[in-house]
């Protein structure tokens, strides 16, 4: 929905669009892959919805569709349209238009951009008018005409965000302005400038989400939450559950930055944020904080994660708690920063020098980011170990309606800080259940000690080159991570019954896979869904669980990294379904793979019996 006052020529534009496509000649309306893609997650409704908006704009709110988008050229346009917006909708505002005077004219006595009105929308303030004028300057239009190009600038931006090709829009412009080369050139320039802005400023793509099926909402209080918000809230919640203060140290990188930005706004909740000079300094500062008795948390993506691997080794060697959040993005190297991928699982599990194991978790949805963050902190503090939490660019920006949790429902988080009763010394006295050491920090006269990255004696912590001790420490490090599994819940089936095909996935593919499996089950196929939160160590019962199936399908947005892990750990054959295009799976893709492997439920039972 483009909204502004008529002066902006919105109606005119609307008519133009309508006319153009009414001819039936509009490429937009006839993009060949349109019908097929109609349920696609990659926000491909944009083209369509954009036009629905133009054709009087009926809103689309059913789950599984592109979130509503509002482009507000002035305050009035914003407030008038606000009520119609789906929670979590994306709002692009022409920032400078929000002047005192314009606010008054809209009968507003405070600026909605800053007074919190837009708290649960994603707002992108941009100087559209100015940027458009700059873009069309070369074509020497009058101010009025230049300003009219705003709409195509905005369209360009949206095409970027919804990840759509520009050609259709370009042809539309060419048809429309065939007679006026200046206007044509100007509008093309505006379209491209808007698109370029999205790319240059690394604005994330808006991805349609497949939340858990839209069962009638259970009775509860709901709010919207994005993955980044979920993580931020989960981290501070965990701090409260553990009664530990947090220091979040990070260096900006797309798409991880949004977590930094959210936490910077939550500093009253027992967390402080530090923007370091690079990712190495960020994880080092976080580790320093953990050494000093506050929980250090760091966060990054892609190349930034690679830089943190050396310091992770120090965290493992010194047995300090640390939470490392990885918002995965498309690679290798800089790759496609704004595109999503699940390709850092290998790195999380295996990507350090020497035998340096650590626990790895992954979140499945924006709301689940909250719980997974709490789990990550719980494991880090209970086992005195660094923990990697995997999310991705898609989750970070996706938003969903979320039943507001009651913190009281979460078990408090235990940690190993010495109490007044703890006898002095014995920093390396170990908890029998977890083999975790004491979390003794400077300031406490009872535990003055030295520690570092050189191999240390298992009991005294002093430097030791003793072969037997190194073996013992290596075994200890393995065992500490292995013992995390003793505390994990049994792996459950998300849906479906044993026997037949198990679809095993992790991370942000949850919604898509869930929908595909549901449809398959409805179609009578013997399929069940297993979704993993804990990737290292794997839940103890996973092997036994999978043994009840004839086949295992592993859909991943990588070249088969979980598949590798399952083959190695469980020594079972698995069928990988891989997609590495920077796009999430479509339900259709997963459904097709399921059809190829699953059999009707009846035979399946027998099949299950054969084993």
């Amino acid at each position: 929905r483009f909204a502004g006052d008529s002066g902006d020529g919105i109606q005119l534009q609307g008519q133009q669009f309508t006319a153009a496509s009414a001819l039936g000649g509009s490429d937009l309306a006839t993009l060949p892959d349109f019908p097929a893609e109609i349920r696609a997650p990659a926000g491909t409704r944009f083209g369509v919805s954009a036009f629905q908006i133009q054709f009087g704009g009926e809103r689309i709110t059913s789950p599984g569709d592109a979130p509503d988008v509002l482009i507000a050229f002035n305050p009035a346009a914003l407030v008038v349209n606000l009520p119609h917006l789906a929670p979590g909708a994306l709002i692009v505002v022409d920032a400078p238009a929000f002047t005192e005077q314009r606010l008054k004219r809209a009968e507003l006595d405070s600026n909605p951009l800053t007074d919190g009105t837009l708290k649960d929308f994603r707002v992108v303030p941009v100087d559209i008018s100015h940027l458009t004028q700059e873009a069309v300057k070369p074509f020497g239009l009058g101010t009025k005409d230049s300003l009219r190009c705003k709409n195509f600038w905005a369209l360009g931006l949206m095409l970027w965000m919804f990840d759509q090709p520009r050609d259709a829009a370009i042809r539309l412009i060419e048809e429309r302005f065939a007679k006026d080369p200046a206007l044509r050139a100007a509008n093309l320039a505006a379209l491209n400038a808007g698109h370029a802005f999205g790319e240059t400023a690394e604005l994330s793509h808006v991805l349609t989400q497949h939340p858990t099926p839209a069962a009638p909402l259970a009775a509860a209080e709901y709010r919207t939450v994005t993955g980044a918000e979920g993580l931020a809230l989960g981290l501070v919640a965990a701090g409260e559950l553990a009664d530990v203060e947090l220091l979040f140290c990070s260096y900006p990188i797309t798409p991880a930055s949004s977590l930094l930005h959210h936490l910077a706004g939550l500093e009253e909740a027992g967390i402080a944020t530090f923007q370091a000079e690079d990712e190495i300094a960020a994880i080092c500062a976080a580790l320093g904080a953990s050494y000093a008795g506050k929980l250090g948390v760091t966060s990054s993506s892609g190349p930034g994660m690679a830089l943190k691997t050396e310091a992770m080794g120090l965290a493992v060697a010194t047995e300090l708690p640390l939470v490392i959040v990885n918002s995965q993005r498309a690679g290798p190297s800089t790759g496609m920063p704004t595109k999503t991928e699940q390709s850092d699982l290998y790195q999380a599990v295996y990507g350090r020098n020497a035998d340096t194991p650590l626990p790895v978790l992954a979140a499945r949805s924006p709301g689940d980011c909250f719980e997974t963050a709490i789990e990550a902190v719980r494991i880090a503090l209970r086992h005195m170990t660094p923990v990697i939490l995997l999310t991705d660019g898609y989750l970070a920006n996706a938003s969903e309606l979320w039943p507001i949790p009651e913190l009281a429902d979460f078990a408090p988080i235990a940690h190993h800080k010495p109490t007044p009763q703890t006898p002095a010394g014995g920093v390396f006295r170990r908890d029998p259940a977890t083999r975790a050491r004491l979390w003794a920090a400077p300031g406490d006269a009872r535990f003055v000690h030295r520690i570092g990255g050189l191999e240390k004696h298992i009991d005294t912590g002093n430097i030791s080159y003793d072969p037997a001790n190194h073996q013992a420490m290596t075994d200890l490090r393995q065992e500490k991570v292995a013992r995390v599994a003793d505390f994990l819940p049994e792996q459950k089936l998300e849906q479906g019954l044993p026997g037949g095909l198990a679809v095993v996935a992790w991370g942000s593919t949850y919604g898509t896979v869930h929908q595909a499996v549901r449809e398959a089950i409805r179609a009578g196929l013997a399929v069940a869904q297993i979704h993993l939160r804990y990737l290292n160590p794997l839940p103890k019962n996973l092997g036994a669980l999978l043994a009840q199936f004839d086949a295992v399908l592993v859909p991943e947005l990588n070249t088969g990294q979980l598949a590798t892990l399952l083959r190695d750990r469980l020594l079972i054959p698995v069928e990988p379904l891989n997609k590495v295009s920077g796009q999430p799976f479509t339900v259709a893709e997963v459904a097709e793979a399921i059809r190829a492997l699953a059999r009707p439920r009846i035979q399946a039972r027998a099949g299950g019996g054969e084993r």
Binding site: L217, I271, A285, L401, P442, G443, R450
Partner: protein, 330 residues
């Protein structure tokens, strides 16, 4: 609490440096400085990187963190932000601090984090068997530069000045008289205190500082600066440095000779970066400057951080969860 002797700051660990290494005297000076200020071992932390120099924390009876190569300033920053109460020392070397760690040192200095940073400059990589370092002089022969090194060295002090350091001092390992006091001054400074300590690696770079260190000629080759005092040196303290206002350079003069009086000598002003630049730029035959070369007051990062970003919990998370529009479906 009873008075702590400097021996009380030594640990039970066997000291693992080569006999005759300058690190021993620096260690002793550190023990002395801690005793002088009666540092509380529980509230004192020594953070180091990797190198012979970085082994020091194992030998100091306080909290100690021997981290990874070049990262000590970053880790120390985290320690200080997490607990501003702590007195945090950073121990590093010319390789650890200026080769791999240059960036973290730069940012700790420009942020003015309240750390006491001691850089042991032996102009060599000692621990890894003597390769040339970023402070090695051109032509240094080493296992990795058998034909002599080609790199132009960096001056630790001028680097610190360029980074905006608020405290810059220089000392030499053998100066047991002056070093403990200087370390105490560095500790007293509010902000990042950077101390370059010339240190003799007798195995891989023996006597590289002989020219200034040699007891016989020390008086002629060492210029000990004091705020508000003229720049004098020499056995009879008869020599001094005078500023040529046209060339903006320092020249050596002898007080009493051809009409030069003490009044003509440049008076040291710790707070003036130009004077710091002049002193750090001194080259033979002019003497080398020692002591507090630059010191000025500036807000520290950690205090601003503690004030603006206390990690203390001020709202309950449950409130945050319910912020913004809530959709009630009960």
């Amino acid at each position: 609490m009873s008075e702590r002797a400097f021996k009380d700051y030594a640990t039970d660990q066997e000291v693992r440096w080569c006999p005759g290494c300058g690190d021993y005297s620096i260690l002793k000076a550190v023990h002395r400085a801690l005793a002088e200020v009666q540092a509380d071992p529980a509230k004192t932390v020594f953070v180091s990187g990797i190198g012979c120099s970085s082994r020091l924390p194992y030998y100091v009876e306080t909290y100690g963190f021997h981290t990874i190569h070049g990262r000590a300033p970053a880790i120390a920053t985290g320690v200080k932000l997490a607990n501003p109460e702590l007195d945090v020392w950073v121990i590093t070397g010319d390789g650890d601090g200026l080769s791999i760690g240059g960036n973290h040192l730069l940012h700790a200095l420009r942020r003015n984090v309240n750390l006491n940073i001691l850089l042991f400059n032996n102009e060599i990589y000692g621990l890894t068997k003597g390769q040339y370092s970023p402070t090695s002089r051109v032509g240094t022969a080493s296992p990795s530069s058998p034909g002599g090194s080609l790199d132009r060295p960096v001056s630790p002090g001028r680097f610190a000045l360029g980074a905006g350091a608020t405290f810059i001092a220089r000392a030499i390992d053998i100066d047991q008289k002056g070093l403990p006091g200087l370390l105490a001054e560095a500790r007293a400074h509010e902000g990042a205190a950077f101390v370059e300590i010339l240190q003799n690696c007798i195995v891989y770079n023996a006597d590289v500082f002989e020219d200034v260190a040699n007891k016989k000629t020390a008086a002629e080759r060492q210029l000990h600066v004091r705020h508000g005092q003229p720049l004098v040196y020499g056995a009879q303290r008869e020599k001094g440095l005078r500023l040529d206002p046209r060339t903006l350079t320092l020249e050596a003069v002898t007080v009493g000779e051809n009409g030069v009086g003490e009044a003509d000598l440049l008076v040291h002003d710790e707070t003036n970066p130009l004077i710091a630049q002049l002193l750090l730029g001194l080259e033979a035959p002019l003497p080398t400057a020692f002591g507090v070369i630059h010191r000025r007051r500036a807000p520290t990062f950690d205090s601003a951080f503690a004030e603006r970003k206390p990690t203390r919990r001020r709202v309950r998370v449950q409130q945050l969860l319910r912020r913004g529009t809530v959709l009630d479906r009960r």
